[in-house]
Symmetry: C2
Subunit: 336 residues, 2 copies
């Protein structure tokens, strides 16, 4: 709990320190993003801007920027690369919302609802291509390798999740593999590339990768928990969305593994979309409580959050390290 | 008409010479494709293989390979890069079929019909990422720049086409800009990268780009014409598909521009999807005949095919040049 010395005792961890740390860098990243999402085809910046300026926290580029600060990297290469990371993330969000048929994200209607699936697919492709153009301009084959590999892994994770859809017997290990690919791979890459541009390869690169990867898993697990406890006002999407979509997340996996035959039959029917009324959701929530599905998911998240923090052990204390540590504490404290 | 000396007088131009020229290289490319479309997630090679082994002509990688032969390039880098080009093409086909809601391609049911839109979107993303991984392995930033730029241009062209959908007043220039982006950019890049690996930049690179770009436009225009005259047995899709989908292609643009007010009203209604019966298609075909819509589209295609051939003027005569010339002749003679 290194970061506690940097804030008032008992104050909740927040993203404020990391946001302050990278504020000027983030302005530069936002300028790159705004510039590079332009196109002679007006629909492209219109649709991309809806999502990009739509209240996202820019977590992944923030990690690239903070990691560059941690390493005292003196240059500006992180700006284009952080923008590339955000473009890859935005492209996957656009495609995810098509894949899931989502209608709300970050409290707004999704692009696929406003402009249709075809436009979302194609603008996602455009942003993905632009991400690679930015990396090519930067000129590091190593960065290109890290991010093209992460992109392939993300797509594999998404397909894996699609295959596992509604399969209530998905194992915990399988689920961790899926979120390790679809969510954590980009966090890991976002952190790792900072080591490459700072020419601190080897141990430093691996440590940053581990920080990003564990943080990404922690974030995803907390998201999965929040889906059963939050409301639309705080999350920008409704409680129980995952339940109604038949998404087999860790809370469900734990409750299913620990449940009676009768409970398992309920979960099976629910994930198949046959029991998704409000009453069913209440029943699901009761089962999750009975088996500690939410509490243990958050406990797992804390485990990964702590691993993220411990991965930073090799770095000297300082403002950047404290901000990264507090970001991990924030990740796992959001739902409390 | 350089190539005529290589075939019997009067024989129809064919792809046989270029296929013979690159046969051994294409085996190497196919091995890369098969190897790199693998994944631990079984759905990925299953879905990708359906399209990749589904009877496509591998035109774009063929052009990379033939251009490398034209330049007497002695190495093997073209194999991975040609596979990358085919992966980008396959990814765009998967996404196109989702965007268009297509149900048939190359005489088979489309992947989106068999496995659903979500899987097609995600496997497309996977192949696109794999394409970049292959390019990164090759290690040329210049090749990466050419192909990432082409990918962004393709996506822009697709979005532009989406915006122009059902707009019967689309101008000929606008249409040429769309197909220049969505189709010809990848042909141009496929040819251009051969110059990069053969270290023949400048004039040679520009000549190959021009060959590919003009050939791509010619191919697309002939495809547009064939859609109104062919049958499912030869094309793998039904006659009039573009008509029923409201796709405003050059034959329609010409007939609309040359038509009476009454005819224009018909085209408008047809492209809006309100007159797409078999009788309507017969009427459309009659209007195309009256205004030379098909004949002049093919004439335009021949113009671009000739420009492709002329772009090769700087290269010495030989088997490779003759094969590339005959490929362009084939492109514009398919519909006769």
């Amino acid at each position: 709990m290194t970061a506690e010395i940097h804030r008032l005792k008992g104050a909740a961890p927040s993203l404020d320190p990391i946001m302050r740390l990278v504020a000027s860098d983030m302005n530069a990243v936002n300028a790159v993003i705004l510039d590079r999402m332009q196109s002679q085809i007006p629909l492209i910046p219109e649709l991309a801007g809806h999502l990009i300026s739509g209240g996202g926290k820019r977590l992944r580029p923030m990690i690239t920027l903070a990691a560059a600060r941690l390493l005292d990297y003196p240059g500006t290469r992180q700006h284009k690369l952080a923008a590339a990371v955000e473009f890859i993330h935005t492209a996957t969000l656009l495609h995810d919302d098509v894949v899931d048929g989502s209608d709300m994200r970050r409290g707004k209607r999704t692009a696929n609802i406003i402009w249709g699936n075809p436009a979302s697919v194609l603008v996602g492709d455009f942003l993905f291509s632009r991400a690679f153009e930015l990396m090519v301009e930067d000129g590091s084959l190593k960065v290109l390798k890290i991010l093209s590999n992460a992109s392939a892994v993300i797509a594999e994770g998404e397909v894996d999740q699609l295959t596992a859809q509604r399969q209530v017997s998905t194992s915990e290990d399988k689920y961790l593999a899926i979120i390790g690919a679809k969510t954590a791979a980009l966090f890991a890459a976002a952190a790792r590339i900072a080591a490459v541009i700072a020419e601190r390869e080897g141990e430093v690169e691996d440590a940053l990768d581990a920080y990003g990867r564990n943080l990404g898993i922690a974030f995803q697990l907390v998201d999965d928990a929040i889906d059963y406890v939050s409301d639309e006002a705080t999350m920008g999407k409704g409680v129980g969305d995952d339940f109604r979509d038949g998404k087999v997340t860790l809370p469900v996996i734990l409750a299913y593994a620990r449940g009676s035959a009768e409970e398992r039959a309920f979960w099976h029917d629910a994930m198949m979309g046959r029991r998704i009324s409000d009453d069913d959701l209440s029943h699901a929530t009761a089962l999750l409580a009975k088996h500690n599905g939410i509490a243990d998911t958050l406990e797992h998240a804390r485990h990964y959050g702590q691993r993220a923090i411990d991965a930073l052990g090799i770095f000297p204390a300082g403002v950047a390290k404290a901000a990264l540590v507090e970001a991990a504490e924030f990740a796992v404290s959001r739902a409390y």
